[in-house]
Every structure is written in C-alpha cells, then in structure tokens.
Subunit: 269 residues, 2 copies
C-alpha cells in the first residue's frame, strides 16, 4: 500500500491544499476492505508497542493537527484503542496556562515528550503556535516567523535521541466540517461539547489553510515528516493513520533484546 | 455477582491472607463464562469512561499492588485495554529518584493523581512505602509506622475532591509465583525481564504477607477500600478487577451534562 510515501508532504515542497481532495481514498478499495485492514493494523500496533518497550531503544511521537471536528479525538479513540495504556501517553494541548506562557512555547511540549520505549500522542501541539497564534495575531509576525526553524531544531533534537516523529494533518473540507457541526447540534448528548466560538472560527478558514500550508511546507523534514490525510471519510482517515504508523515502525526493525545474561545460573527457590 | 462487596477487605477488620485461597474463583462459574463477562465489562468500561469525561465531576484511581509476577502488568493489558488512552494515564512507581527522595513519600504520588474526568492507574504506589520499605528496613519503624494514617488522610483528600479510589491486591501463592518465574526462564524472549534480585525476594515472602496484612487492615477505608483478588488464575483476576470497577462506577450514577446552553441560538455558517 505504501501510504507512508504516498501521503507524506515531501520535504522542501509546498503542498497545494486546495487541490488535495479531502474526500479522496488513495490506495484503498473501499470501506469494507478498510475495516479488515484497520483491525489488522491495530493488532500489529499492539505487538510493535510491546517490542518498542522490550527493546527500549526508540520512542514514538504521533502529532495530530486539524481543524475542529476533523477527527483528532476520533483517531485516538479508533486507532490507538488497541494500545496498552501503560506505555502510551496522550497529551492534549489547550490554551497555555499562565505558568506555560512564562516560558518559551516549546517548554510545555518538551516536558510531554515520550520516554524511550513508549508512545506519545499529541492532540494539538507546538504547531498551534504557528496556526491559531498566527491567524489571530496573538504574537507579532517577527515572533511566530522564527518558530518554524525553532520547531525543526527541536524536532531534530528529539529524533537524534531516538524519537520517531510522525505528524498527521487531518484534512477535511469546510463543507464536511459544517455537516459534522450540524450533526452535533442535532444530538442533545453532544451539546456540552459545542461552543459558538468554534463555529465562528469558520470565518478564518482560508487564513488557517494558509497557515497550515506554510507549516507543512517548512516543517516537513526527513526526521519529522508531515502526512496529509484526506479525512472527509472517517474510515479512510483511521486506516491511513494506522497504516502509516505501522509502515514506519516496521522499518525500525526492532528486536527483542538478546538474552545477554546467563539465566542458567539464576537460582530460583 | 456483586464482587465489590464479596472481595472487599472490610474496613476495620484484619484479613487472614493464609486462609484466603489465591486459587479460588468466588462468584464465577468457570473460565469460559468469565471470557464473555470480561468482554462485556471492557465494553462497559469504555462507555463509563466516556461518561466520566463528559460529566467532568469524578475521577477514578485504580491502585495495583502485588508480589512480582502476580499480574499487575497483565491486568492493565487485559482489563484496561479497551479504555481510550486519551483520558487514561498509567503511572508505574519504581525506586524513587533522588529528587523524589528529597520530598515526603506522597509527593510523587500526588503529582500523578488523575484529573477530574479521567482514569488514573497506579502500577505499584505509595503502599510500597509500607511494604518493601518496611520489609527491608529502608527507613526506621517510627517513620513507616506513621504512614498508615498519612495515607488514609491523603486518600481522604482525594476522595473528598471527587476521586473514586479502588485498590487491588492481586493475591497469588508462593508456588504460583515460582511456576511463573520458571516459565519466564524457559522463554528466551522473556529473559530481558528477569533478575536474580526478584527471585531472591522470595526469601522474604512471609514478611511481605505480614506487611500486606497490616496495610490491608489499616488502610481499607470506606473512601478507599482494598480488594483482595484471588490471582492464581489469570482469567479470574482479570474478570474480578473489571467487574468491581464496573460495579463501583455504575453506583456513581453519572449523567451526561444537561444541554445547559441554548444551542438553538447558535449561528453556524
């Protein structure tokens, strides 16, 4: 299938988000086939997680970024569901606290970096600092414009120290977002999740796409690539994310540690 | 089934661990029936976790304590597997770091307390400070003997602030531990997990049982009960832990938040 290569934002190029169809399903025959493949990937991810822990040499960092309702939570629920919660931490990044704001923008991110042997999942991330922060001018351009290089250097530090980084942009259309918001409006059990503010952000859609384009163009690197996941169809989104993680982790060629010690000399009484 | 009442160490009483059979399977017909019930409980736990998050009123803290190889990791893998990793954190407590040792013994524990709306799972816990620490005299008796009350007060603080605490002692026999250690010796893929030190701890089995007995007697409280789980049979252990968590969470009678805001006035364009 090789979705790893197919959906990667090629380092050094600028993606044209207006020409990438969020409803596309490259490399997959249909919903039914995808269900079987997703199940297989979830089982495989569980095995790979165990190996990651046993080998104790790599960590994995999955970054999820997207417009509201594109499915960050859903991806975690459906793709990461099979992971052992021991050895997997999910960090949602919300509006920074006063303490966090008193440090550089990568301070709180660094604290949440996964330890060797473990999975870390970021629900939103340091990229908010070149997305919402840029769209709403929360800091001046001379501040946010320096962040792309700061991010690349930070991610290089992690990668050099054993962290395999996979960044997913869940790409939905403005129309699909509206459909999903409307569905939530129709379900009283989902009303607690809603806010007028989220709806109002739709007015900035083009600004966000521009900010995403620059983040994808400048921060998709060989050591921390971005993937652009067509996400209007949830089944495709889940399959694609799971498939890419499996493909990349398989390439690490992880091994159980050799039985270095001579257990035959152990005494068990 | 009501394993909640059946396996609870009654507050104010002293359990006799020598008379509680670790191979027993109270309340369950057999392995086959247990498999179906476990699956049902795992699905139900997933629903309850969503409700816990939506209601945002309670947190859940599951504490796992046991002798080596009794199945702390296995319980997490098999019972908590269905939980959404977002909203569930597992904290393993190992030998304290220098920084942790420079604080009182509950400092690192408090830092790891689950936030409202979430599940926290402790793999080992503050109880190590009245177990291994007592057995090996790592601090003098006048220090560890005060800890039972300190623990009760700390757990009361959490409970008063919305944390539902469930503490599980996975009770295995010394013979069953030996069988499991031997099995690991026979599997080269498990050798990285083994250490002679763990085997040597078997010499202190009686001391540990005495220390556990006192912890169970003094720290099983109405606000943070201990459960003694017969754990020689893994299928029973997994079922019992899942069953008790479900029973207790059902009693919280959690509700989706009322659609407080008038979403009919929201504008979606």
């Amino acid at each position: 299938m090789n979705l790893n290569e197919r959906l990667m934002a090629k380092p050094g190029t600028t993606p044209d988000l207006t020409r990438l169809n969020p409803g596309a399903t490259p490399g997959v025959k249909g919903k039914k086939a995808a269900a079987g493949l997703l199940k297989r990937n979830i089982d495989r991810l569980n095995e790979l997680q165990y190996l990651l822990y046993a080998e104790n040499k790599h960590a994995v960092l999955v970054v999820l970024q997207a417009m509201d309702a594109a499915g960050k939570d859903g991806t975690i629920r459906h793709v990461m569901a099979g992971l052992n919660p021991q050895g997997c931490s999910v960090t949602p990044f919300k509006v920074p606290s006063d303490e966090e704001r008193d440090h550089d923008f990568l301070w709180r991110i660094h604290k949440a970096a996964p330890r060797i042997g473990e999975f870390g999942i970021f629900n939103r991330s340091h990229y908010e600092d070149v997305l919402v922060v840029r769209v709403h001018s929360l800091v001046p351009p001379e501040v946010w414009s320096k962040r792309y290089e700061q991010i690349n250097a930070f991610e290089k530090l992690l990668a050099d120290n054993g962290v395999t980084i996979l960044k997913f942009f869940l790409h939905i259309s403005k129309e699909e977002q509206k459909r999903r918001f409307r569905k939530r409006l129709e379900d009283p059990r989902k009303h607690w999740k809603l806010s007028q503010k989220d709806f109002d952000e739709r007015a900035f859609w083009e600004d966000y796409m521009q900010a995403y384009t620059e983040a994808l163009a400048r921060c998709s690197t060989p050591w921390a690539p971005w993937y652009i996941i067509p996400s209007d169809r949830k089944w495709y989104r889940n399959l694609a994310v799971s498939q890419i993680i499996v493909e990349v982790l398989e390439q690490l060629d992880m091994q159980f540690p050799p039985p270095g010690m001579d257990v035959s000399r152990f005494r068990l009484e």
